[in-house]
Symmetry: C2
Subunit: 403 residues, 2 copies
């Protein structure tokens, strides 16, 4: 289940991307990407919450704390996670090497890795590939870079958006990778977003945090979280449009467009989910808080029984109810809960809806895009989570011995 058609991405003035085959793990496939941004660019990032954040995550965080970046270096093949002190030295060595090539400080380089956990990064191969990656750099290199960061992804994931602010055009382009919260060993979701807006880091960070809440933080393939997850936004300022505060209508308009772009990338990850045959939106409403609704939506999205029923196109609403029933929230009155499938009401007043017919449910579930709706009947808040089904292929992909 994938969507391979990507519209023209255009460019983000001030950002150039180069992709090369460095033979880091496998020969003859793009595996090294260098993203360069011009001086004056600000950056904001969100990283994995894992206790075992990978070495490049630790180094990128430290570098971000000291400087704005001039370049990002991204490798596939090895995650450089669970590699101890030596792994951090490896990540730093890559930054040093790229800094020398570009004539900047190592703290102006942010490293990202994705691939096998627990094995050391072949630094020499990566460093040897840097001149080629730099030589191929072009403003038009987003789609090649989207391919260059893929591991077991079956399609490249990219999206672009534009908006007019202060009568000037502002551009956004984003690329992402990921097709399980973590791969067989190909760990990670990564996303890189560029814009020619000008914004202080605090404002860019506020915009990114708001945009990822309902997008990258609202998707679940298998509930597992990688050691390397990262989302980065770079703002070059080349559009001449500046946003100085993290409130007001201009900020809100930018956030709305950034959120749409993140949503496209996030949904592409779910559609490319390991073994996925269905794209499922779980809408939970009627909660006392957004958090409460999110907890219920995630419980449904992570239930193996709900996910296998979706795979079978089986309108087995009892399993949705079971998942709501085991959600760790306070539920005042279970009889006020309603459940819908693609808008069709199946459960109400503590029992199956009298008007519901099994054939209707079967028809609803036959679609490849499915909406599960749950109203908790105890408040006005809501939350949405996107997920996919659990198929034989998920077991095959993740149950194959590593080769």
């Amino acid at each position: 289940m994938s969507e391979a058609i990507i519209p023209p991405l255009g460019v983000v003035p001030g950002i150039r991307l180069g992709t090369t085959m460095a033979g880091i793990r496998k020969a003859a496939r793009p595996d090294l990407v260098v993203i360069q941004c011009e001086s004056g660019t600000t950056a904001a990032a969100a990283f994995t919450q894992s206790h075992f954040a990978a070495a490049p995550v630790l180094v990128a965080k430290a570098h971000l704390a000291r400087a704005e970046p001039r370049a990002l270096v991204i490798n596939t093949g090895f995650a450089n996670a669970a590699t101890g002190e030596g792994g951090q030295q490896d990540a730093y060595a890559c930054c040093m090497a790229l800094a020398r090539e570009l004539g900047c400080g190592p703290e102006e380089i942010l490293p990202f890795s994705t691939g096998v956990i627990g094995e050391r990064l072949p630094v020499a191969a990566l460093v040897a590939g840097l001149p080629s990656a730099i030589a191929s750099a072009t403003e038009d290199g987003w789609l090649q870079a989207a391919h260059g960061i893929m591991t077991t992804d079956t399609v490249a994931k990219a999206s672009a958006a534009r908006l007019v602010l202060d009568d000037k055009l502002v551009r956004l382009v984003g690329i992402a990778k990921g097709s399980g919260m973590i791969h067989p060993n190909m760990a990670t979701m990564l996303a890189f977003i560029g814009t020619d807006l000008s914004a202080p880091r605090t404002v860019l960070k506020a915009a990114l945090d708001e945009a990822i809440r309902s997008t990258f933080n609202a998707i679940s393939v298998d509930g597992d979280t990688s050691t390397n997850d990262a989302v980065i936004a770079l703002a070059t300022g080349k559009s001449g449009v500046r946003i100085d505060r993290s409130d007001g209508p201009v900020f809100a308009r930018f956030v709305a467009v950034l959120e749409t772009l993140c949503a496209e990338l996030a949904h592409a990850i779910v559609r490319d989910g390991e073994g996925a045959t269905k794209f499922v939106r779980v809408d939970v409403s009627g909660g006392r808080s957004h958090h409460e609704c999110q907890v219920v939506a995630n419980t449904i999205a992570q239930s193996p029984l709900v996910k296998t029923a979706l795979f079978a196109s089986d309108p087995n609403w009892g399993r949705i109810l079971m998942a709501v029933g085991r959600s760790p929230i306070a539920l005042d009155d279970p009889n006020r809960v309603t459940v819908t499938l693609n808008g069709l009401r199946v459960f109400t007043n503590g029992a199956v809806d009298p008007a519901y017919r099994e054939e209707q449910g079967q028809k609803a579930l036959a679609a490849s895009d499915i909406v599960i709706g749950v109203d908790l009947g105890q408040g006005l808040e809501k939350a949405t989570v996107f997920t996919c089904d659990l198929s034989y292929d998920y077991v095959r992909i993740n149950g194959s011995y590593r080769t």
Copy 2:
């Protein structure tokens, strides 16, 4: 993966069990069990925490609050869950009918159901089967009853134990059903335990709560929880041995035996887990609290990526680390975490153990019984959870459209 050999169960004086084919959902299979206990029996129970507790659970709780039971009535085929007010009337009607047959009050009957969620219980068929179940009642009927409560279980689950207290023999027999926290639609884990000990309900309840903590509450097939889960202990007093307080060495000895019996039943459920090919013990130690260790153990046990790696006999310790990494606990120093597979140390000091060889890991994982060990390195507490792997058969069993 199952163990079909059950040793002779013996009897529990004061308890008689009758099993019959009532044709409740399917013809020609045992589907109705009546367990009678003599006057003077005390009972203790633990029920599902689901917000959508099934009608029989609600009725059983209400009846337990008013009286000690004289009989239990258990049907398969229909869970009588998510059936609204009508479902509760159905459960009560079954209690009324059995009370009339036995000449006791309806509040002295506890109902239990397991099977399809959301469909009404065929009360007439159940009631029509009661005389036959009663007529077949015998003290020796435990094994037949174990068969009578099965739904998609592939083996009957039963266990017996004896101990000597005050120079007198005390007997325990237990039966259970379940092979997923909830079945395709065959919801539920149920367990019924009898003993001829004499104990006030408060003492019996204290013993049961202690025994289920490390047994029925420490198993996970898929992390899903049913609407009908229940564990009941009946104490007839016929042994002449009385325990009056929930502390002291006599109580402790009884709890230890009860815990062993519950462990055998609980492990039998995991071994019969849907599609299970491995029996996996997850030992988490070095935590600041039992709860903290349990949270980590459950995160590992519920990780689809860990479970598919186990199915593949793949010593993919990166996934175990990933699961520890996403566990919602405070982890002071990830570098103090160690991971072992069947006692073999694979991860230490933030990286793969220098002495570890992949072949050793493969050999460890080739076994059908596997122990995953994690030491958090920040305390003295520990917890154990039992689980199984995630196989094609899990998807097949749960992804087959209901028929």
